[in-house]
Point group: D2
Chain length 360, copies 4
């Protein structure tokens, strides 16, 4: 019965596994592997090579653990072939997912711009930036009420007070609000005051939070964990989709590597990889992805050129006074000039060269 609990969760995950035998494996070794497969309720097929044999396990709906075989005599390796992804795959949903919040859209023809502040610090700061964001034509405003910080002694965000400021931005400027939830409780506040639930890199595998976001009424912007593979990132998205919320936007924000000239290594190849594997939209955060003001514009341009559905940017009217992450914020004039460039590159990619973009 307890086994059934685990097994039933795995239903509909299709798997092949290949058991590669050693060259020295005897017929008895092969027979023992076949018996094991049969006992587990699966079927098998022996493949004779010139100098060694392999056994394919087929038709299994539940996940098979390779280690059930690797300890058997004569087995060289057991290789799982297919992946556990289900709802996030292109096989499940061939059309691109378009996330619309009212008439503001991520994943459609237009480049989505999400701009704003790193942390909400004061109404003045936020309104000043919102005014610039509005002017640029962007439809989304970002601002952190909670800031997950590596040090407990660093500024942690204004919390609930910030939500009221954000709600006022929504009201006054007609911008859609993107803000981070850091635990299940804070999802309630985001649902009340904002439009998109952001889940940060440190929480990409906070499964209680992912499940709660999966039951929310709002879209979820899911940042890539700083050491997550694209497969793991899509599995984190599966947690949200499997609870019923299919409006997930992925956000590449840099991964952790040995490379030390930027705060993270922005992995732009994740864009074509995600677009090939999944139907979900993907955007780029060059501000957190580099952590350096002078790198934001070039990497934002690169993010549009690689084909991302949107760009997330930070503006600070007076970056030198920011309480957090001042180093990566753009000044208003840098931001406005950059938006012009990004739209021009996007138009170039999408329109005259449309066929190329698709065939690549």
């Amino acid at each position: 019965m307890r086994l059934a609990f685990g097994e039933s969760l795995c239903k509909n995950v299709l798997n092949f596994m290949l058991i590669v035998m050693k060259r020295s494996a005897s017929d008895d070794d092969v027979t023992r592997v076949l018996a094991k497969i049969e006992k587990l309720g699966f079927t098998s097929k022996v493949i004779d090579g010139n100098s060694r044999r392999a056994i394919a396990i087929i038709g299994n709906d539940g996940a098979i653990d390779p280690t059930k075989f690797e300890s058997l005599s004569g087995v060289a390796e057991a290789i799982r072939i297919t992946k556990p992804h289900k709802l996030t795959t292109r096989e499940a949903h061939t059309e691109n997912t378009i996330v619309a919040i009212g008439d503001a859209v991520i994943g459609g023809e237009d480049l989505a711009l999400i701009a704003g502040v790193c942390s909400v610090e004061s109404p003045e700061q936020v309104f000043e930036v919102a005014n610039i964001v509005k002017k640029s034509g962007a439809r989304f405003f970002r601002g952190g009420a909670y800031k997950p910080r590596t040090s407990p002694y660093a500024f942690q965000g204004l919390g609930e007070e910030a939500f009221k400021i954000l709600a006022e931005v929504r009201e006054r400027f007609g911008l859609k609000i993107v803000t981070e939830a850091i635990d299940e409780k804070s999802v309630d506040l985001v649902e009340k005051f904002a439009d998109v639930i952001q889940i940060g890199t440190r929480n990409m595998q906070n499964y209680s939070l992912l499940k709660r976001a999966g039951r929310a009424q709002l879209p979820v912007l899911l940042k890539r964990g700083m050491s997550a593979t694209v497969d793991e990132w899509l599995l984190a998205a599966e947690y949200i989709l499997s609870e019923g919320n299919s409006r997930v936007i992925l956000c590449e924000r840099g991964i952790r590597t040995f490379s030390n000239h930027a705060r993270n290594t922005l992995d732009l190849s994740a864009v074509p990889a995600v677009q090939r594997m999944s139907h979900l939209p993907i955007i780029i955060d060059p501000s957190h992805g580099t952590g350096k003001n002078y790198m934001v514009a070039p990497l934002a341009r690169a993010g549009v050129a690689v084909g991302a559905n949107g760009i997330m940017l930070e503006i600070h009217p007076h970056p030198e006074n920011a309480l957090s992450d001042g180093s990566q914020a753009l000044t208003p004039s840098q931001y406005l000039q950059l938006v012009g460039e990004l739209n021009a590159i996007h138009k170039l990619i999408i329109h005259p060269l449309k066929t190329v973009a698709i065939s690549s």
Copy 2:
């Protein structure tokens, strides 16, 4: 006022910063940097080199953001010298921290052994293993009620049902129970039924959970995040200590690298690094750290030899039937033989060669 909020959190974090000027910097550039420092309320000292100058910022109790200076004319780099760690440092607490749960101790003269199952699957499985753990002389039993899993379709743990089984192990075998909390709510259950709150690698920067654990009555076993530096790991521990709970045990469980022969790269140099920087005890988890049954015994031996305060191991009476992580569990006989080896190496390290261990 809002600035004060951020600043006050930073109190008592001592910092030096060094502003290195370009060789081409003018006297005016230097003057501007000095004015900026003064405006921020800090004092400074100019250092004249042969071909360039540097400016030290001193006496500051709050954190200074290097980027406040890097954009000024003539500045080559701004380098933060000291670290934000406070309560976890050897400077704060020179003696080693010894965590005692009744008469069971981690961080003392004896090697602490924490053994058990990966997931609690059934009373029979757990009691069979607890019997072996007891027999080996280990004082701690580990068992997961909740299993954070990369895929939502993988076995997630028995949840509350598992806690009752674990409480029975405590009762019948006199073992201390180490089990994972995955969110704030589950800390309540761990406090009720167990002895040590484990925080897993994916939650190392789940700050809501860290703060809740900091207000708990039980010691916390904090696993290293799979892409965390030792500095970040100690800052995660700071979240717990700064809430009042100073009984934190660190657990190295492997980091994510390009190296692909094991599931993770067990970073044993973290042991002397932590022991130099911090007073907190540190243990090794070679089971999750390698993910391969055949690597567990050699790496457990290495963990003792490197000077860890304890080892965490997984046993499965029938590893080939485990619902999760069967690949890394030891059989009962492998486990018992290994415990003999570990105690022998520990004795060798601690006793006849005690002076060496200290001087190294």
Copy 3:
């Protein structure tokens, strides 16, 4: 005398070092550090903080080893401030370096296109591709005579036979030839038959080869080592420049990380980093940088958008028959369409938005 040998090599490398004392350091500890500095022939300056002291070492022309101080009583850390780079820095040479081979230029206003084959396989294959390269307006032809391969059993290149084919391409199509040297001897052949010496990722720290290339008459295209920081890469370039050859072109080709959806992680933030630190031109190799045909076009576009001076591409008339790396080669029609896109993005970046590109 032997010391002088080492020291003289270090001449003109300017260094600051900061010795941070422990809070508990005594006046005697400070005195001992000062005495040590004096004994080594340097001068020092004590900086008094609120709760601890630091000592700056200044005016030193030779490199100081931090470990000479870290073992002294009372010392918390010894931090080297400046970097050993000399000839590759913007401080040494403020203008961008433009590498011209005849009228073909890398580092100027135009985007440099280096296209061709991975390995030279036959005259027919090479001429067919050279024809397409010529047609696209590219000025450089790439083709490997030697292929450093991970396995000794993989195709290693045609060697000398290939050089003759390449020389014929130069003659017939007027293209400049870029080809790899794998050891000192092969530099002789490249000098005889080609125009640019390529040094591959596995040889980025093959110092005998770098020194030989530094004495060559041709420009050197230096690929980034797959685990090299930008600092190390520039130091590898210093080996070439310090032998007298200042015509070095840097080539980002992806680094090794845990990320597994592409063969390497193309690190585009290296472009603004290099452009800030150095005067050398930098190009992008999206073919080797991703290892996947479907990623080449998007990442090539991103490489231009981020501001690289050129793009290196592989074409195979019949990619499915290539002896090596077929997976990443573009078909002729993919290539020609892509060149159109790249030139359009480059024009957009350079011309109407020129001021932005510079200010960012």
Copy 4:
């Protein structure tokens, strides 16, 4: 004919490949894949799953490129099953390789100790250290004549002068000399004056050097590349073995990761991994592997405990005066105490617990 050149090199490398079809693949798609396999001269077997099909390619002696299939319609992935390793595998040579230089042995029952200096600086320094090495019972002396250095301005080694000093150590102390070759020419000098050719981490994929070492009369100590997988490391060893020299000793010296508390991350799990896959002996270099004096002894103990065949250590009579890498050298008294510990741990691992070491 040219194709045959490539193909013949691949002879005897046995491969399976599995082509996994998409769920939506048509019968025609399958037919096209089968036709392609036949055209390439291989045979195939179709495996029907519940919801998708896979096709195994078998009996192929030459390497198949997965990308030949991935671009075909209906193909989800093409997975290469077996690895290109041949001479280094346990399948090729089941017994452990024991490398003997006279009566000094690496890979036998005794722990091999290779100790000495990082760089040869003067006869006095070398003889002073050789005396300590001799006294400790070690049989191998290490000392660098050439030091591959990241910066061209750092001390590069004494070169030929150093060889004469090393030859004198061999003569006077009866120690076997291990020293690094950095290019083909320097192999000649090593062959003339020393006993073991060391190939450093930066040259692990310098194939001209590997091939030259493969034709040498001396054993080769091959350090792991700082970003090499174990598979790539063994393929580098294949270059040496395939030229006829089967006396290769592998040396783990740390890999490059994001972890920043040590210079490299010593990957001790490489020891059981190599021992499972290969018959070659493996040793540990904790000096370069950590770069910190205080980490060397704990990691050396861990290296013996994990089961390595030997340990390589650096001694400096006056570490504070070393021209390179002083930070990681042991003092003579630290070294002698450590050797006692290492031998004690080795005895414990090998003798009373022999069966455990083998079964693990």
